[in-house]
Amino acid sequence: MRKIGNIFWLGTKELRSFLHDFVLLGFVVYAFSLAIMAQANSYSQEVHNASIGAVDEDHSELSRRIIRAFLPPYFHQPRRIAERDIVPLMNLGKYTFTIDIPPNFERDVLGGRNPAIQLNVDATMMVQGGLGADYAQQIIMTEIQDFLSHTEGTAPPPVNLDVRILFNPNLTSAWFTSVMGIINSVSMLAIILAGAAIVREREHGTMDHLLVMPLTPFEIAMSKVWANGLVITVAVGLSLYLVVRTLLGVPIAGSIPLFMVGVAIYLFFACAVGIFIGTIARSMPQLGLLYLLIYLPTIMLSGSNTPLESMPPWLATVMQASPSTHFVSFAQSILYRGAGIGVVWPQFALVAGIGGLFFVLAILRFRSTAAQTT
């Protein structure tokens, strides 16, 4: 009972300090509002406004129809360019795609001579180049079929493939990037808030003070976990309801309360890591540098930017040890696929376990940190 009392009262102190730090407060507000909006509008997951140049050497009805078929939002209106400009313009990076419709194309199509359209793709634009090439081919083929069905009619294929996309039928980037933005912000803030709380107490000399009072490192660390965790949990909740659902209009399939439980468990881990690096770093700048080395890879490789399936298997296995990877994974399960506790509990347990490990490490290091003040 005493322990709980101590943890509670120390935590309220933590909350009061936090509310007085307007810079941090502004940082939190930014991370859960503007930063989310900016990422939601990044279109990083889809083909959007791809730049395309078109060479029309045919000047026929069909060639004009093909060029007109490239429409926003997938493609910019194609710019007419000359054939000799294809290479220099693509070198400059002006166009991700160029199509070249050869002379007499329409005549050859009607004559059944199976002519070829050239589609050049800038293969250094990985997301847009790959997906856009598929889109462009479909657009061209559909347009030719359409044109032909007016003139002669074609036989339907014997087997049709009907692809249905679950959970996000139109594959809107914002549905994904907004929630992933929240996840990025959670990791970013939780680690740094907890870590900075430790280093700040040490720099102000109050850590010494706590350690000579009848308090255990467990109580001190736990108070920081609950206080910082609470702040971020509230921020996540508000961000999900106000920013993601209301402002961005992203429908959320699953149970938000269940997700919030997951957030709380993840926060336990993130705060524990923060406290742990707070016990290693001797000053705020060192904390910051250490933090970047942890934060950047865990977030960039967590599956919230590029799919885990695209990593080399050994790296994907290594990333299984990072709770951020599981956080991203269960967030997707719960929020998009509507998964219940029955599906995600192993991941919850894993995150809690790794969090517990760091928490124990942090507590073991706690006392030795006091020595570093002078």
């Binding site: 059944g112 070829a116 293969a123 039928p169 000399g205 000053s283 540098l289 490789l301 695209s310 990593m311």
Partner: protein
């Protein structure tokens, strides 16, 4: 000795405010030249502000300051006189560089004043000789004792032979022997250079006795001006300290009485603390060296010594914060156990920094501690009332601790330390920085605790008059206890007049040096009594001063293992992670089949999928519920359903349907899977093996897709050059961002304010080493790209190299802007992280071309250098472009450099606000 009659400084109606507090309130004063003028008064009365304004380091808000016959508001005059002024700010060696050796520090100052190598050499030799620092010339400043640090500060100030020397509390926290040596040094120096004016601020009133003229200050106002004799005569007091107190306004002196210390009545009480051979080592450095003492119940025991002599470390060992390397400590008769919660309840501790929660109010601070010590509610309330009344805290109850005057904060801190009625109090320099009146009040409280409540008090201090109030005390120096006894016995045993004299005598015995050390006189170069040499012509940008900063920054970087490791291996580590991890080649996709036909035809269709290298098949699906569950948990990314009658329909020539479900949680992956499935479907339709059974329409036209630059469409060829771009945006910016703000936080920025170095020299000089680091990073990452990731360089290396150079200059300049703007390192660090990470990862064309972004994101992207460097990096590596083809991008990138440098120039001030 001829004294020029014109005053060295004249202040008229000067008022300076920081937020709501008024530091200087309509000050008008004239400081005579050619003599030693002292500013006296407690901390926080505006002495430092006044001095920094005279030095030209601080912006003048209102009023006029004339120094050396010119207006200090005029930047041209400041620039002209700054080579004639030397300014040593408050804080031990605050404008020195701790990682640099004594010689390197002085060298740096010499370069800043544009002295050529030969001149520096003899000046440094003479200064080191006359200050007695010569034997330690290669010792880093951070390893110097307080006294040596002050001497070094003096050397750095005298390197350019100033006419006006401004010293802000040069001896605070220094042991009495070093303090005496310091004043000897100043005296000798004045004998040699009679014309020099010196303005000194001090909190030690006894030092002020020997100044030529005094300015007594309190609360931003001047109380009196005159020689020490005049002041004492006017107030009819024997000492300057008494005179000062007499000069204070009536209401402050009200209720003040001479401090009476009743004798300690407890005789031969049992020992509360016993230290036996207590030793603490940090690496090779011995902070506390076999310390022995015994403290008895109810006594006030003092620890006296200079800053850094081991007082704090000893106290930390006694509170269990530090484990002793050797020896033992007994607390209440038992060996100290850091884990023993119960013994902690019997001890109160007040650390040097007062350890209060500045963001909590007085009430909240007291209540929090009462709760943490688990006082029962009723008792807590009573104790709260008692402490508030006794410590005079009523009127401050709801103020934040950070808003309290220092003296009140100190009282609150003591109240907090005794809220649980401890039997013993450990107080680490509880009175540093507090004015004499508040110090007396504080001691009254301590004496009351000791004599009336039987609390044992263990207190450390560097004030001798406080030491005299202790029952017994230990004199400490360099980690050792020199002597332990009552003040009276200590004085008598050395035959000294004062405790300070006794301490000096002990110190001399311990260190083997004497107060008046035999070092030669301060040598004044060239013409000792002639006029000061006219300042050399001032070029707009002096390369010597610029490189002074470059050399210093480089040395500091090389000596900071943490920053250096981060700078070098941070990029390597992240390049490995990103190079392998950030990829868009979607492979190993899991899928499962719900084959409800189980015919030859259905298997033929699925064969196409199973043969693919992109997919990995999972156990077949049993039914729709299974499909639903496994999609939900993310176990499979795609499911294929072949309906019953698929084979029959095919044979009958009826259109057959296949259903596919794709997990859309990650849109890019889903879209890619859809593309794969459709391609596979097309393959199936044109497969000759299938064709035999089916009539197939001939396609009307073909599309020849050409993946330019990267035929196999492997993402490593794009991602490695972009990851390199991203890391060269983040790391140089972050390292640079810490560079300037670090000087602001540590105080060495003062050197920019008061020396001839210009802002542009400062900025560029500091930027050069970081550009060097970034180029090294590039070299490492370039080799990794070639040999680890096997991404060949197809285009112009020269263009890439030039592009990188321009790029890292731009990204360091980006960090420089943030650093010039921010005021703390932590703000700069996170400001830079926010300002670089989002634009770098999202809006610079790493994943999405900038032209495809929404309008605001495009603006963010186009204002970030990386947007212009990715085409260079990808162009040179993968697109195989020539120098001419890349030159345009390099030119665009180059625009950032002057723009960002100009912004930093405007944001960085040549004076403090």
């Amino acid at each position: 000795m001829s004294r020029p009659t014109a005053p060295v400084a004249r202040l008229q109606n000067v008022t300076q405010r920081y937020g709501r507090t008024t530091a200087l309130d309509a000050i008008t004063v004239v400081l005579p030249s050619g003599c030693m003028v002292g500013l006296i008064g407690p901390d926080g009365v505006g002495k430092s502000t006044l001095l920094s304004m005279i030095a030209g380091a601080r912006h003048i808000q209102s009023g006029d300051v004339f120094v050396l016959d010119g207006d200090m508001k005029d930047a041209a005059h400041r620039a002209a006189v700054c080579p004639r002024i030397a300014y040593m700010p408050q804080g031990l060696g605050k404008n020195l560089y701790p990682d640099l050796s004594i010689r390197e520090n002085i060298e740096f100052f010499g370069r800043m004043f544009g002295q050529p190598r030969s001149e520096r050499a003899w000046r440094i030799a003479e200064l080191l000789q006359s200050t007695g620092l010569a034997p330690f010339a290669d010792r880093p400043a951070k390893k110097l004792s307080g006294g040596m640090r002050q001497k070094l500060g003096l050397c750095c100030s005298l390197i350019h032979d100033p006419d006006l020397l401004i010293l802000d509390e040069p001896t605070t926290g220094v042991d009495p022997l070093s303090r005496r040596q310091f004043w000897e040094l100043i005296a000798r120096m004045r004998r040699r250079r009679a014309g020099m004016s010196i303005v000194v601020a001090t909190a030690y009133m006894e030092e002020a006795e020997r100044f030529d003229s005094l300015v007594a200050m309190n609360d931003g106002r001047i109380l009196a001006v005159g020689s020490p004799l005049e002041l004492k005569a006017r107030t009819q007091t024997p000492t300057v300290e008494e005179a000062f107190i007499a000069l204070l306004p009536e209401e402050l002196r009200a209720g003040r009485k001479r401090l009476e210390i009743p004798p300690n009545r407890t005789v031969n009480a049992e020992p509360v603390i016993i230290a036996r051979d207590l030793t603490c080592r940090f690496g090779e450095f011995t902070a506390v060296d076999h310390v022995n003492f015994t403290i008895e119940r109810g006594e006030i025991f003092g620890f006296v010594g200079s800053n850094g002599c081991g007082k704090t470390t000893t106290m930390k060992m006694l509170t269990g914060l530090l484990a002793p390397s050797e020896g033992e400590a007994l607390l209440f008769g038992r060996a100290l156990d850091a884990r023993d919660i119960n013994s902690r309840r019997r001890v109160g501790y007040m650390s040097q920094s007062f350890s209060l929660y500045a963001e909590l109010t007085v009430r909240q601070n007291l209540e929090l501690h009462a709760r943490l010590f688990h006082l029962p509610a009723q008792k807590a309330a009573a104790r709260f009332r008692e402490l508030v009344a006794h410590f005079g805290l009523d009127e401050y109850l709801d103020q934040l601790a950070s808003d309290l005057p220092l003296g009140i904060r100190q009282r609150l801190s003591l109240a907090v330390a005794i809220v649980h009625e401890p039997e013993m109090l450990i107080l680490d320099e509880p009175t540093s920085g507090v004015d004499p009146l508040a110090r007396d009040y504080f001691w009254e409280l301590l004496i009351d605790l000791s004599r009336n409540q039987g609390v044992t008090i263990f207190v450390s201090t560097h004030f001798m008059n406080e030491a005299e109030r202790c029952d017994r005390l230990s004199l400490m120096d360099s980690g050792r206890v020199l002597a332990t006894d009552t003040p009276r016995n200590l004085i008598e045993s050395r035959g000294a007049a004062t405790l300070e004299g006794a301490f000096i005598s002990y110190l001399e015995e311990a260190t083997g040096s004497s107060a008046v050390d035999s070092a030669g006189d301060i040598a004044v170069p060239a013409a000792p009594d002639g006029p000061a040499p006219s300042p050399p012509p001032r070029p707009l940008v002096s390369l010597r001063r610029l490189f002074a900063y470059t050399i210093r920054e480089t040395m500091e970087l090389l000596r900071d293992p943490i920053r250096l490791t981060f700078a070098m291996f941070g990029t390597v580590f992240l390049m490995l992670a990103f190079g392998f991890g950030i990829s868009t080649d979607v492979n190993n996709l899991t899928f499962a089949v719900l084959d409800r036909d189980q015919s030859h035809e259905s298997r033929a269709y699925l064969e196409e999928l199973r043969g693919s290298t992109y997919f990995v098949e999972q156990p077949a699906l049993a039914n729709y519920a299974d499909l639903q569950k496994r999609m939900q948990s993310g176990a499979i990314r795609a499911a294929i359903e072949i309906p019953p009658g698929f084979g029959r329909d095919l044979e009958a020539g009826r259109p057959a349907w296949v259903g596919a479900w794709v997990d859309g949680a990650m849109p890019f992956r889903a879209d890619t899977i859809r593309g794969y499935l459709q391609a596979m479907h097309q393959l199936y339709l044109t497969d000759p093996a299938v064709k035999t059974t089916l009539p197939q329409a001939r396609s009307a036209a073909r599309i020849e897709v050409r993946f330019k630059y990267n035929q196999d469409f492997e993402s490593v060829y794009a991602m490695v050059p972009t990851s390199l771009s991203m890391l060269l945006a983040l790391f140089p910016a972050i390292l640079m961002a810490l560079a300037i703000v670090r000087e602001k936080e540590l105080g060495s920025i003062t050197n920019l304010y008061v020396t001839p170095v210009t802002r542009i020299e400062f900025l560029l000089g500091k930027q050069i080493p970081y550009i060097g680091i970034a180029m090294t990073n590039f070299a490492l990452m370039f080799l990794m790209a070639l040999f680890i990731f096997q991404v060949p360089l197809k285009g112009s290396f020269l263009a890439l190299l030039l592009g990188v150079l321009v790029y890292v200059t731009a990204t360091t300049a980006y960090g420089m802007v943030i650093s010039a703007f921010a005021s703390t390192q932590i703000a700069a660090l996170f400001g830079t992280a926010i300002m670089t990470f989002l634009p770098a990862s999202q809006f610079s064309g790493m994943m999405v071309p900038v032209s495809s972004l929404s309008a605001t994101a495009q603006i963010m992207g186009r204002a970030f250098p990386m947007t212009y460097f990715i085409p260079i990096s990808v162009g040179a590596f993968t697109k195989g472009l020539s120098f001419a083809e890349l030159a345009g991008h390099v030119a665009e990138l180059a625009v950032f450099i002057p723009v960002l440098t100009l912004i930093s120039f405007v944001l960085l001030r040549k004076q403090e606000r």
